[in-house]
Symmetry: C2
Subunit: 186 residues, 2 copies
């Protein structure tokens, strides 16, 4: 394998291993075996499994989400929910996110990486949507931006990650309409 | 120690051990040590750490949350949020819940126990609040009850467990007002 291919193989193996056994049980041995490389190939690139996971989380945050621009608050929320629900439906995401979340509760370095990923990813886009709505006069200037982000991001996360239930047809549209109403009432 | 005291000591030790090291790393040895009892005292009561955790999750679900009855949707939501935010602020809850959530993604027995706890706890109360609002004519009859539950439960969970940020003064009141507006728009 080329050097870049080895790095890529290790990165994919980390995701699969995280989804399969979780952070606590994951080992460099297991990652190397899944990637089809030797343990030294992993250690040459990352000092520990913590550093591997921190690197991956940062890489995802940088990828970012597209910024919707539909011209209305409800339309923008609808587009955000379509992208987010597709990402959360991926079995790897739906297993890895709660796992790292749990780990963040006892590991400050993971907590910081997750917060940074959140700020640069989901919260960056949600903030952009709220500010565009303020600029159009759909949402009051001076609203509590943190509360607005909780209203935008909470319900879909609760449904996809906590309740883990299917989304019926029409769900995302109704969610976008209700959330727009909540933001207009702030 | 009396038999009931031993059982209680083990139950508390499981919570503390779960918060400290997480489900994956938790061992019957660690629980027994923390409870100040022998390993056999634990095994006499529960077959495995899985059974111990399932038993605890069920016990919490049965305790239940009080059903608010303020006479208005916004008032009921406010009361629900006060109780829930106090529970989520507890360090044990804020570490144990995401941990079991993560474990549920790969263990169907834990997933089922968590779903049952959710239905009988949080969702039972939220459903009661929405139905009372329908009966008063504050919310449209025939709304999608699952979507209503996501709107009621998602934002505070996101803020407390995912973002892990402090709640500023006035937050719960504003959240209750915005959520009531979202439900009226359904």
């Amino acid at each position: 394998m080329l050097r870049e291919d080895v790095t890529e193989a290790i990165r994919s193996a980390v995701f699969e291993e995280l989804a399969a056994v979780g952070y606590a049980r994951m080992s460099i041995e297991g990652i190397a075996r899944r990637a089809g490389v030797g343990k030294t190939a992993v250690y040459r690139r990352w000092r520990s499994k913590l550093h591997l996971v921190l690197d991956l989380v940062s890489a995802i945050a940088v990828q970012g989400l597209p910024m919707p621009d539909s011209g209305s608050l409800e339309g923008d929320l609808r587009l955000l929910y379509e992208v987010t629900s597709r990402a959360l439906r991926h079995p790897v995401a739906s297993q890895v996110i709660p796992d790292l979340q749990a780990e963040a509760a006892r590991n400050p370095e993971i907590a910081e990486a997750m917060q940074k990923a959140l700020r640069e990813g989901q919260h960056g886009v949600a903030n952009g949507i709220v500010r565009a709505a303020v600029a159009r006069g759909e949402v009051r200037d001076g609203v509590d931006e943190d509360l607005a982000l909780d209203l935008v991001s909470g319900p879909l996360y609760w449904r996809s990650v906590v309740v883990r239930a299917e989304l019926p047809k029409g769900y995302l549209g109704s969610l976008a309409a209700a959330t727009a109403a909540a933001l207009r009432a702030l």
